[in-house]
Every structure is written in structure tokens, then in C-alpha cells.
Symmetry: C4
């Protein structure tokens, strides 16, 4: 039996709760083989993405971003468990899609890395995943008011965002997506959407590339803030949000112009 160290350790040490082996991230599988070294610039981009999400107010001390391994679709890259603002390239670990670390070297992965692994399993088109508790998004996961695209920058939301309520399948939990089953169910609810909300927890943003996933995480938060205000202003009246056809067309442009944001944001975090 092999152990990927994680925050759970401290739980049992402190005696606060009993956890099943699956919850604890224990595994009897052999250590997966690494897909080999990754270009340093890619690791630095992934670390920058983490700091960008902090700088843009999408994550605080919690939340994480990952990307599929550029050489092997059955591996992904993700920081060790650390506040996103502090991540640098040396903190990046490699995991297989079962979320086992290829070379842990004493580093602990995030408890909720299963969000990432299970989405990569089910969505071949997704090459990057962001999980956050960005504040303005939380109310939409709690009330059932459908999230819509308030402007073209958030065109990816024109088709709505499904809500994953962990209670539906797993009953009363600690709310965390801390094992394969929970991750797989979240990925199932996500379906073919770019975004899923998580009741009383946060959200997941996906994209075909790292910069697009980050772009979507940022503008999901911005759009949620706009929709909260628009909802209050409309007072029950109509909101002329993007329709689905507008959403598809505007999203295609966003995909090409997101690099303007990415370049600015990287510069803000010191790259």
C-alpha cells in the first residue's frame, strides 16, 4: 500500500473524524510511470496560472488549477497542496488520471485532485481545469437561479451551467470531492459544459487550453457579479442576456482574443 500524503493525515491525528481508505487517498496501485520531463516554460505557465487566479480574486488560500500533460493525455500536472498565490514551477507534480502521483518526493497533492483526474477521464477535449470558491458564483449554486451570459466575454455561459449537489448522491458529507466516486459524479454532471457549479462549495471551469480555462474561471466570477446586480436591477423583469447562438459566435472570438488577457495577467504576477 502506498500513501499520497494529504491534509487528511492531520485529521486522523487530531481525532476529529474517521475517514474511509478511499477518503484518505490511500491506494494499493503501483506508482504510475512518469511521462518524462516537461518543458520548464510550461511548468512556469501553470504556476503563473495559479498566481493569476489569486491576483484576479478567483481563489483565496484555497483552489487549484491543472493541465493535461502535453505529451501524454493520461497524465496531468498540478501543484502540490499549497496556497495558489505561493505556487512556483518547482511545486508542480505529475499525476495519472487516477490521481496517483508519479513522483511524490514527499510532496502532498490536493485532497480534491479527483475533480481534475475524473474530468480528464471523461472529457478528451478538456486540457485544463480550474477549481475555485470564487465568491460571486456561490449564490448561484445555492438558489437555483440559472447562470446566464451577461456579456460577450462570458459567452461560454450562454448555455447555462449545471449544479453538482454532492448531497444528492452522497448524503451529508464534508462537501469535498475527495475520492474517485465524487469526482466521477461531478464530471458526469458537468457533461459537455465548460462550467459546473458546486452547491455550497464553488465551481469548476474547463477549457481546451490552460489560458482558456483561466479566462473562463475569471469571467465566470465577473459574470456572476454582473448577474447579481442585473437580477436586482431587473426586479423580476426580462434580462436581455446572450442567446445561445450569440454565445457560440462570441465564444469563438473569445478563444482567439483571450491571449490579450493572458499576457496582461502574466505580467501582473511577475512574468
Amino acid at each position: 500500500m502506498r500513501l499520497v500524503q494529504c491534509a487528511c493525515h492531520q485529521i486522523s491525528a487530531n481525532g476529529f473524524m474517521a475517514l474511509s481508505p478511499a477518503d484518505m487517498g490511500y491506494s494499493s496501485r503501483p506508482v504510475p510511470a512518469s511521462a518524462g520531463p516537461v518543458d520548464r516554460a510550461i511548468l512556469e505557465d501553470l504556476a503563473a496560472a495559479s498566481r493569476i487566479l489569486a491576483d484576479q480574486g478567483v481563489v483565496d488560500a484555497f483552489g487549484h488549477v491543472s493541465m493535461r500533460h502535453p505529451a501524454r493525455p493520461d497524465r496531468f500536472l498540478m501543484s502540490r497542496s499549497l496556497a495558489p498565490a505561493l505556487v512556483s514551477a518547482d511545486d508542480i507534480m505529475e499525476f495519472d488520471l487516477d490521481c496517483e502521483a508519479c513522483e511524490a518526493r514527499g510532496r502532498s497533492g490536493f485532497l480534491e485532485r479527483f475533480i481534475h483526474g475524473e474530468i480528464y477521464k471523461q472529457r478528451a477535449d478538456v486540457n485544463s481545469v480550474v477549481h475555485s470558491h470564487s465568491p460571486s458564483v456561490i449564490p448561484f449554486g445555492l438558489t437555483g437561479v440559472p447562470m446566464r451570459a451577461m456579456y460577450h466575454n462570458a459567452a461560454f455561459l450562454a448555455g447555462g451551467a449545471p449544479i453538482f449537489n454532492i448531497h444528492d448522491k452522497f448524503g451529508a458529507t464534508d462537501m469535498l470531492v475527495g475520492n474517485h466516486q465524487k469526482g466521477a459524479e461531478l464530471a458526469r454532471i458537468l457533461g459537455q459544459n465548460p462550467i459546473a457549479l458546486m452547491r455550497a462549495h464553488g465551481s469548476v471551469a474547463t477549457g481546451p487550453s490552460l489560458s482558456i480555462a483561466v479566462f473562463r474561471a475569471v469571467y465566470t466570477e465577473v459574470n456572476a457579479r454582473l448577474q447579481l446586480q442585473t437580477h436586482a436591477l431587473a426586479g423580476g423583469g426580462l434580462i436581455a442576456a446572450l442567446d445561445q447562438e450569440e454565445g457560440v459566435k462570441a465564444d469563438a472570438v473569445n478563444i482567439t482574443s483571450a491571449s490579450r488577457a493572458w499576457d496582461l495577467w502574466k505580467r501582473r504576477v511577475g512574468m
Copy 2:
């Protein structure tokens, strides 16, 4: 056929959508003649305006500001396609009112420069235009609640702000004002007003000078924030906004005192 390079390039390269030649910014017109060199201080002011709009929260990675050429009313100056916070004097390009670059030198203009060119064509009194997605303004373009002047600094809004809904004339689009026809229609809706809202997109602010257009863009955002709060507090009751006569009188004073803001804002962005 001449090509003004723009973000659209990447679209076709990525195969996301087919664009008409007009959408792509292609043109068979000859390269327009330059009106000649512009005083460096003017270019630096225009670049500062761009950074001011970012510093004041009016633009994020997107949005742009232009000014009419000081020597020739049928030319205007505007940054190449770049995040506003990063613009410096060397990024400023010259365009004719059909939005053709006089000397592109490999630089790409903004896809939506047609907003600027078409307004300059129709409004001889306008010498500067700002286009932004400033957040508090978006809800007013989505709900039809009329924007009003909450205080004297936003006196230019006392006459209201028309809403340009791109869907009315052009159906389901990517929402962007990416050709002459769309720019001309936006300018038509703007009419003689200083400000126009753009449904599910943003807004346009105009002025007789660069500093006044920037002043109006900033205080459109501030006023929108105030009106969102006032609307909620009033709960359907009366709001004692500026009436039109008060608006005309207060705007005249603002025109003279806006330089106090301009001087402060320039200093904040390092000038």
C-alpha cells in the same frame, strides 16, 4: 488587396468560425496618407488615457480609447490591439475614418475600431471616444432601466443614454462591432448623446476632448454603481436625480473642472 492584421487571423487559423471579408478587416482601398507626425506629448497623453482607464477600473484586458487627429479631422489616433494597461506612445497608430491604418508597420488594430471611425464620421463635435465593458454599466444595457444622473459629476447623463442592441439590425452575431455597418448603426443610435449603452456588451463615451471623454467614461461607471444602489434603496419609490436643466448647467462646470481629475489620474499612471 491590403490586410490590416487583427485578432481575426487567429480565428480562421483555428477554424472556429467563417468570417466575411468585411468582418476580417480586409480592404481593397489604397493605404490612406498620413496627416503627418503628431506631437509626442499628445501621443503620450493618449497612451496615458488608456492606462488611466485601466487604473480607474473602467477597462480590464479589453477596451480602447481614441482621439481625432489634432491636424486633420478625417484621421484618428488609437493604440494597436493591446491590453489598455500596457499601452505606451509607441503603440499609437493613425487611421482614416474608414478605419484603415496609415502606417500599420506590422501592427494590428483593434477589431472594434469601427466604433471610433463611424462616430467621428457622424459627430463633428466629438474629438475622443472610449469603448469599455465597465462592469456596473452592463446591467443597464440588459434591463431597460433608464440610466439617470445620480449626482452632478455625472451631469452628462441627465438626458439619458440610448441602448444599441446589435441583434435588432444584425440578428445573432458575435456581439462585436467589427465592421463599418455595425459601427455606423451604433453611431446612429448614439445620436447627439454623449454616451450609448451596448446590450450585453458595454458602452461608448464621447467628448469634445480626450480628458472629457475619459472623465465621462469614468463617471458613467461610478454613476451606474450609484444608481444600482439607489434603485435598491428606493424600492420603487422616487429618485431625485438631476433634471435636464440641472444636467446642462452642471455639465458645463464639469467641463472646466475635469482637469483636476485628469491631472490626478495622470500622476497615478506615472506621468
Copy 3:
């Protein structure tokens, strides 16, 4: 005839509006005698107050603070017309209570210095005045929802704040308190209250000392923000604000503990 230079100059130069001599700040009175030099530390405190108000978000490029002359109750000290964040001790001018500068030396006073002079005339207990357009306060001047004290720090609001609607006595104006008559009417509406709201304009805060006036200006803004949120949460239900007796008792303590805020705020603006 003597001229106190002010922003109005530019108005007539630009031909935007005709102003009466009273509006223009012209006066045929002799230059008032100075009360003599003021301790440099006092001038620096007044300049710091100006920068503190900017740092705390109470003023942007507009707004001003004054204090009564420490040696002569019929004189007051106030910056020349300048963005508050930029004020230093050398910008402080001396005025008599008719708002004539004792030694203009080419410096322009604020157009609305009459707010200050007229309050000092009518309120012997007031030794400092702040005028601002602090954002959260504006809605209360527009809707007639009475401002109340949401917590002990804003105890000075437990007795409410009257609203000065310049339209009531002066009809459609440029909204500014730009002459003696308007200043006197504002002071009359203020009465014995510490705070007055100004419809579609801003507010005035007063105090027995510079630091208390600044404290009240800051916490009027903070309290307004709290009340906007409390009003929305209460949804028409009761709000257990401070009653008047609690307000008197808590304000007495605030007067003694405000120095803790003042010391912190001064340090933040570099003193």
C-alpha cells in the same frame, strides 16, 4: 475689485455658461488681514486630512476639508483648488468667513469654499468641515430613506441627517454651493446636526476638531454602505439601529477613541 481665481475662469473663457459676479467669486471687499502664521504641524495635519480622505475612499479627485484658524475664530484654513490626494502643507490658504483669501499669492480657492465659511459663521462649536461626494452616501440624499446609525462607530448619525435640496430655494442650478447664499442655506439646513446630506451631490461632515470631522466623514460613508446592505437584508422588516440615547453615549466614547484611527490613517498617508 479683487479676484479670487477659481475654476470659474475657465468657464467664461470657454463660453459654456454665463455666471453672475457672486458665482464667479468676485468681491469688492478689501483683502482681509491674516491672523498670522500657523504652526507648521497644524498645516501638515490639515494636508494629511486631505490625503486621508482620499486614501479612505471618501473623496476622489473632488472634495475638500477645512479647519478653523487656531488663533482666530473668524478665519479658516483650506487647501487651494487641488485634488485632495495631492495636497501638502504649502497648498493651505487662509480665508475669512466670507471666504475671501487673506493672501491668495496667485492660488485659486475651491469654488465651494462657501460651504465651509457659512458653517463656521453659524456654528461656533464647529472647528472643522469636510465636504465630499462619498459614494454610498449619495443614495440617501436621493431617496429620502432616513440615514440611521448601524453601529456604535457611526453613533453621531443616531439623530439622523437632514437633506439639503438646492432646488428647493434656488431652482435649477449647477448643483454647486458656489456663493454665500447657497452656503448659508446649507448651513441653515444642517442646523445643530453633525452631518447634512446634499441631494444629487454629496454631504457635509462637521466636528469639534479636525480629526473628529474626518472620523465622521469616513464613518458616514462606512455606515451608509452598511445601511444599504441592512436595508436590503431586512426587506422592509425592523432594523435595530442605535436609538438616540445609545447614540449620545456611544458618540462620547468615539470622541475619545477616534485618535486611534487618526494615528493609523496619518501613518498610511506617509506621516
Copy 4:
């Protein structure tokens, strides 16, 4: 009779109000013995907690944090009366649970240190207390809308937070918890909850350790902001907040992962 100097002094000097000896912090008890020197790293952590609360927007110029003495449960450590952003290790004083300073050395304790002492008396499980006026929490103390846990980070709120209305037992006061009786009543209302709200004043957060009390103070504010928005969005409809069982389970995980926030926050305040 011995005197712990405090802000109250200035009150009587200024003649604003008469205070009872209990209100003034006078005591005829002998000076309590010190529990002996405390590890410098612990004092620095407590001072950092103070600056963290300022950096995270939980306190402004007012508010305080304390911790139980690591060697003696009948002593606690707390800064002298000072704006939280300015506290360093040398400002930490030692008090007995009756809030008498062991070695005042001319330093004044906070007027409201009785909040801390009385909670330590009644709650053996509590080793740290934060008192703040964090802005988003105030509305919940004024309206009776029950605070609930909007997401897992605020799981400690799943059981609700009682409201201490000082008026119920003490009538019209200056709102401050300035003596033993008021502190004891607040502690009684707090009961076994981690958080108590204080009507028209602020709140108290407690924890088994310094970092957990700070974590709870920060996320009480974040959660209140989220609930204000969720309440408005729900418009009277259901809010799928954490239930109590989810709250217990999620809080247990938070206890173990709060160190990730603590490490980040300490770094932000220069440690």
C-alpha cells in the same frame, strides 16, 4: 486602588460623560502575578494575527485578538490599545481572566478586553478570541435574519450564531463591553457556539487555537458577504446552505486545512 490606563481617561477629562468605577477599569485587586515569559515566536504570531485581521479587512482601526497563555489557562495575552495594523510583539500584554494587567508598564489595555476574559472563564475549550466590527456581519446583528453557512469554508456557522443585544440586560449604553458584567453576559449568549453577533456593534469569533479563531473571523465576514448576495438573489426562495451534519463534517476538515490560509496570510503581513 490600581489603575489600568485606558481610553476612558480622556472621556472624564473632556467631561463628556460620567463613568462608574467599573466602566473606568479601576480595580482594588492586587496586581496579578505573571505566568512568566512567553516564547517570542508566540508573541510574534499573536501580533501577526492582529495585522492579518487588518490585511483581510476584518478590522479597521478598531478590533482586537487575544490568545490564552500557553502555560497557564488563567492568563491571556493581548495587545495594548492600538490600531490592529500597527501591533508588534512588544505591544503584547498579559492579563488575568479578570482583565487585570500583570505588568502594565504604562501601557493601556483595550476598553473591551472584558469580552476576552469572560469568554476564557466560561469556555475552557476556547484558546483564542477575535472581536471585530467586520462590515458585512453588522446587518445580521440588526435584522434577525439568521446567519447560515453558505459554503464549506464557513462550516462553523452551520449551527447559526446567537445575537447579543446589549440593550436587553443593560438598557441604553455606549454599546461597548466595557466591564465584567457585560462581558459575562456576552459569553453567556455565546454559549457553546464558535461565533456570536453583537447588535449594532460587531461580532466575536472563537477557536481552539489562534489560527482557527482568525480563520473563523475571516470566513464569518466572507460568509456574511455571500449570504447578503444569496439572500438578494433568492428573493425569498430556498437557500441550500450547509445542513448541520454537513457543517460538523466540513468544519473538521477546515480545522486541518486552515494552516494553508494561515501560512499565506502571515506571509502577506511580512512574516
